[in-house]
């Protein structure tokens, strides 16, 4: 899962990014509206955490412009908890909002919820034959036994699970699993896929040569 955070307060941005990375997300950051819009339009993020008050384009304007081209789920961070501000955010196309000051747990939960909704899933549990993925607890079970996965491996499984039945290209996987600062060594992805197959069964992820990967 790859997430963009647009927030101008440096300490808040840094801690949010760190916390989300530790949750296993690939995180890109922008500290002003213009950069934020540029990133959001150029990359298929799984979700965007967007502050309302930003230098340059403010959050509302960024969202309005982004909605012309992309349906990326957006979680607004607002310092105003008045109803009209919430309504404005939701009407402009935000998927959810969190009022500052917030608890990290709440941000995590709401992010998971908007990502799940964007992939048309209604529960946090995805069953793929013998493999079960709990996206809330970020656990994977194989034959009802918990499996130890690294954060990156889990993200790979979760992303493939959320796109079950589709062929997921290597580019897509790179986009969603790695942030813009990570060097996209092409074999890094192969290593993760190979590790997941070792843990969840060789057939769990099928390779479509020339296209990408797929979970049936």
């Amino acid at each position: 899962m790859r997430i963009l955070i647009v927030e101008d307060e440096p300490d808040l941005l840094a801690s949010l990014a760190q916390a989300l990375r530790e949750e296993g997300y690939a995180v890109d950051i922008a500290d002003n509206g213009d950069d934020g819009l540029f990133n959001a339009e150029g990359t298929d993020y799984d979700a965007i955490v967007l502050d309302v008050m930003l230098p340059g384009l403010d959050g509302w304007e960024l969202l309005k412009r982004l909605r012309k081209t992309k349906k990326t789920p957006v979680l607004m961070l607002t310092a105003r908890d008045q109803t009209r501000d919430r309504v404005k955010g939701l009407d402009t196309g935000a998927d959810d909002y969190v009022v500052k000051p917030f608890d990290l747990e709440e941000v995590f939960a709401r992010l998971r919820a908007i990502i799940r909704r964007s992939t048309n899933k209604t529960t946090n549990l995805i069953e793929l034959g013998e493999v079960k993925v709990d996206t809330a607890a970020r656990h994977v079970f194989y034959q009802d036994k918990p499996v130890e996965l690294t954060a990156r491996e889990y993200s790979l499984v979760e992303f493939m699970a959320l796109h079950r039945g589709e062929v997921v290209t290597r580019t897509q996987l790179y986009e969603h699993l790695f942030d813009e600062n990570e060097s996209s060594l092409s074999n890094l992805l192969d290593v993760h896929v190979s590790n997941v197959r070792k843990k969840l069964g060789a057939d769990f992820i099928a390779t479509r040569r020339g296209h990408g990967y797929c979970i049936e």
Binding site: E9, L12, S15, A19, M53, P55, G56, R80
Partner: protein, 511 residues
């Protein structure tokens, strides 16, 4: 609302009282006039009868006067013989029961009211006219038929004889009730007394009084009803005002009095009240906005502390990582402290509680100190600072004014172009110290100029990260105003902005 405290009822009461007094005055006057008229009529009739009697006496044959006794002596009428004149008649009456029938004065026995005048003293007349004729010694010479000896002495009759003889008993009419008398002394010395009952007049007057009272009551009732209507009508705007004020005091500050008659006194009052309500609403909205802005400003640093600490606590970390977290928390706390100090300063200035420590000092030196303080920031941004300030001694709060200068300088540097310039000048102008700070920055849009000194105003609406809450200029203004000075801003977009501070050089004791 207690009835006696209600303006409406008090007005009604006064109105009613005045009406009662006026009506009573009219009624009494009308009654008196009617009474006088009736009595005059009666008097006319009495005088007419006196005249008739006098004429009749006059035409009486003179010889009959021959037996008249000399003045000063009691009459020697046989008709009076046996009458105990040596004793007061009262005693006699008291002792002897029924009064004796008066015997006719012999001298006047042949005086008969002529028939043509008999109708003047007819028995059937409701006025029961009666008469008596006395000689100069009060001896009863003649009287009408409806006259009889009463058991009391009436005062209308001359009482004492000249020689101190006994008082003659006076006949009284044989009816009860109010009477009216007219007496006339004839040249012959005789006295004619004519009286009558005025019971019919009194009856008429009672009727008149009743009518007046009735009409007066009706007028009073109509007046009270009309007055009540007028008072209600006049007080209706007051009720409207009151109803609106109640709604406003209940918290709905958007209410306004409906001013229908703007020209009337109450209309003007309503307009004044509406203006007051509008100011109240604005002040209230500003206060609310201020509180909301203040809360909003605190949200970001609190968010920083929460996310920083929660992230840090999520797992074990190395010392360097914790250090970063603590530093971030410290920055957030400093920011909150700055904000709280600013808010408190503004609140103190608002409440007039800020005490200025006024001492004579050189403002030019203060400017030099401030410039030194912000020089690193200017260097960092590549902004050139030029100062043109001659020594100028002010009696003011040096610390507070240094805050103003530093704040203006910091703004001028922060909102300047790279490689821009900030010019500071200080000059004395007619008892005022004039300080200007000019930058070569992007300028402020004309529409924003009035809001520059407003609280939480920011040139860049979303500079939350800069640690600048947008209170600096508001505080500058509060400080300058507290010193009795003024602060103004002039700006041209893309050219620059000039802040001008004018301070009285002498201590303004009124400030």
């Amino acid at each position: 609302m207690k009835l006696y405290k209600s303006i409406k009822w008090r007005l009604q009461l006064w109105y009613g009282l005045i009406l009662v007094v006026v009506l009573a005055g009219f009624g009494v006057t009308a009654y008196q006039l009617d009474r006088n008229r009736l009595l005059r009529q009666v008097d006319n009739q009495l005088h007419q009868r006196v005249k008739v009697l006098a004429d009749d006496l006059h035409h009486r044959p003179r010889g009959q006067d021959a037996n008249r006794p000399p003045p000063g002596q009691p009459p020697h009428d046989p008709g009076f013989e046996g009458a105990p004149f040596d004793r007061p008649p009262q005693d006699q009456f008291q002792n002897d029961g029924p009064p004796p029938q008066p015997q006719r004065n012999r001298r006047l026995l042949d005086f008969h009211l002529p028939d043509e005048d008999a109708h003047y003293f007819e028995a059937g007349d409701p006025h029961s006219f009666y008469f008596s004729i006395n000689d100069r010694d009060d001896n009863l010479l003649a009287h009408s038929d409806n006259f009889e000896w009463a058991n009391s002495v009436t005062t209308q009759v001359k009482t004492a004889s000249v020689n101190g003889g006994p008082t003659l008993g006076t006949p009284t009419p044989n009816f009860e009730g109010p009477r009216r008398l007219v007496s006339e002394d004839l040249p012959s010395g005789d006295t004619i007394l004519v009286g009558c009952s005025i019971a019919p007049e009194m009856k008429e007057l009672r009727l008149t009084a009743l009518k007046l009272a009735g009409v007066g009551s009706i007028i009073l009732l109509l007046g009270l009803a009309g007055g009540g209507w007028l008072v209600s009508r006049a007080l209706k705007p007051i009720n409207d005002i009151s109803a609106t004020a109640v709604k406003i005091s209940a918290g709905d500050l958007s209410q306004r009095i409906n001013v229908a008659e703007a020209e009337s006194e109450l209309g003007q009052l309503a307009a004044v009240l509406n203006a007051t309500f509008a100011r109240l609403e604005t002040a209230f909205a500003q206060q609310k906005q201020f509180a909301s802005d203040a809360a909003h400003e605190l949200r970001t640093p609190v968010s920083v502390i929460l996310t920083q600490t929660q992230t840090a606590l999520n797992r074990e970390r190395d010392a360097a990582s914790y250090r970063l977290t603590v530093e971030a928390c410290q920055r957030a706390a400093q920011r909150m402290r700055k904000l709280i100090e600013s808010l408190l300063a503004l609140a103190r200035f608002d409440a007039g509680q800020e005490v200025l420590n006024r001492q004579p000092f050189d403002l030019a030196q203060t400017i030099a100190d401030s410039v030194e303080l912000v020089q690193p920031l200017a260097d960092e941004r590549g902004v050139k600072l030029t100062v043109s300030a001659a020594p100028l001694v002010l009696t003011a709060d040096a610390g507070r004014l240094a805050q103003v200068v530093t704040n203006l300088l910091t703004n001028a540097i922060q909102y300047n172009q790279p490689e821009g310039e900030v010019r500071v000048t200080l000059a004395a102008e007619g008892g005022l110290a004039v300080l200007t700070v000019t930058d070569t920055g992007q300028g402020i849009a004309a529409a924003d100029l009035p809001r520059v000194f407003g609280r939480f105003y920011r040139a860049d609406s979303s500079r939350t990260g800069a640690g600048n809450a947008g209170l600096g200029l508001a505080i500058c203004q509060a400080i300058v105003t507290a010193h009795g000075g003024t602060i103004e801003v002039a700006s041209t977009e893309n050219v620059g902005t000039t802040f001008t501070v004018r301070l009285p050089v002498a201590e303004d004791l009124s400030a």
